[in-house]
């Protein structure tokens, strides 16, 4: 896929940052990374710029680039933004999603249901992600879709935490059905509200997420 080594390195570094291999404020040493990846500093520097532009690291001129792990506040802000953007996708999708799109949503939900029955968190996670992506696509706005996918990707690691909690799967499932119903009725406001509430981190969800960050 990638011919450029720098791109592969960027991908690997992203995953490393996501996985928590680096803490907030850690400096990404060009020389160390270069010998770690067995390349020169050049592709490393290009990879670092990718991290910087995605907001996962910060560059301070003549000082280096430092990883930026979002704290609780920024994390909440990102989830809130995600909720609003997904609501927007739902609003647009309500009048634009195709029959095929609705069918795909139904299919994803069947698979989700299956996962709930088997308490298969990983399967649920994958199908849930797909469910949401179908809605992004349904907005019939490629630009919005791309932006939303980016944020979804950025929050992936944290969403994974959330789904681990007891009872979350059942509730999430019910909300999916409400979302689909709104889309089928072409009710833009209802779809937007349903998606906003589904994605938002409030009440119990909030406390659970905060607690899980204490590690």
């Amino acid at each position: 896929m990638d011919i450029r080594r720098a791109d592969k390195i960027a991908e690997t570094l992203e995953q490393l940052v996501f996985s928590g291999a680096y803490s907030d404020g850690d400096r990404l040493d060009e020389l160390k990374l270069a010998e770690q990846f067995n390349v020169s500093r050049t592709p490393i520097r290009e990879a670092l710029q990718v991290l910087v532009s995605s907001g996962m690291a910060e560059q301070i001129p003549r000082r280096g680039v430092f990883v930026r792990q979002p704290g609780p506040v920024e994390l909440m802000e990102m989830f809130e933004t995600m909720a609003e953007i997904e609501a927007a996708c739902g609003r647009l999708a309500a009048t634009r999603i195709t029959e095929d799109g609705l069918a795909q949503l139904a299919e994803a939900n069947v698979n989700c249901q299956q996962a709930v029955a088997n308490l298969d968190h990983d399967l649920y996670y994958d199908e849930n992600e797909r469910f949401h992506q179908i809605i992004y696509r349904g907005s019939a706005n490629r630009y919005l879709e791309k932006q939303t996918l980016q944020l979804q990707n950025r929050l992936r690691a944290y969403r994974k935490m959330q789904l681990r909690f007891r009872g979350r799967l059942d509730q999430s499932m019910a909300e999916h059905l409400e979302i689909v119903a709104a889309l089928q009725n072409e009710d833009a406001d209802r779809a937007a509200t349903a998606l906003r509430d589904h994605v938002a981190v409030q009440g119990e969800k909030f406390h659970r997420l905060m607690a899980s960050l204490k590690n």
Copy 2:
């Protein structure tokens, strides 16, 4: 401000692309740019990566980077996304904006009014931009604020076109008042709707924008 030459070059290149100095599909030749800026290829390449990550150019491995000027479709998608995101800012700001924020909005509107009276498009443009930025800030969500500012910046050149049309200033002004009223009443839905309609490019606005792109 910038110590890194690459950053300054990136900024200059961005403006060049915005100004229409390059057409869609033009290749950004590293060597030519290097001698044009009197630097080596290294800082040029770093600058190009910035353009790529902001979506203003596309990189094809082993081929080069090519400018991507949004066509009519993508432009409409970007405006639609902007409308939705600003609506989200308004929704959150309705219950969060401070008294000081409201005061700043009133002040910006006074200046806008002044500009309308004098038919001073440039002043109106600046104050209008400020008006919107106060609302982004009012959302009390720094992440959302930053994302919104980015898109606002990306659409700047095209918004400038829009305001040149006759009658647009008066209508825009009236919409500002409705937005402020909604925020003062802490009416989230009303604020969101008012902002969405204000920013959206529909009906006559749409045709005018399309016509102005024909150049």
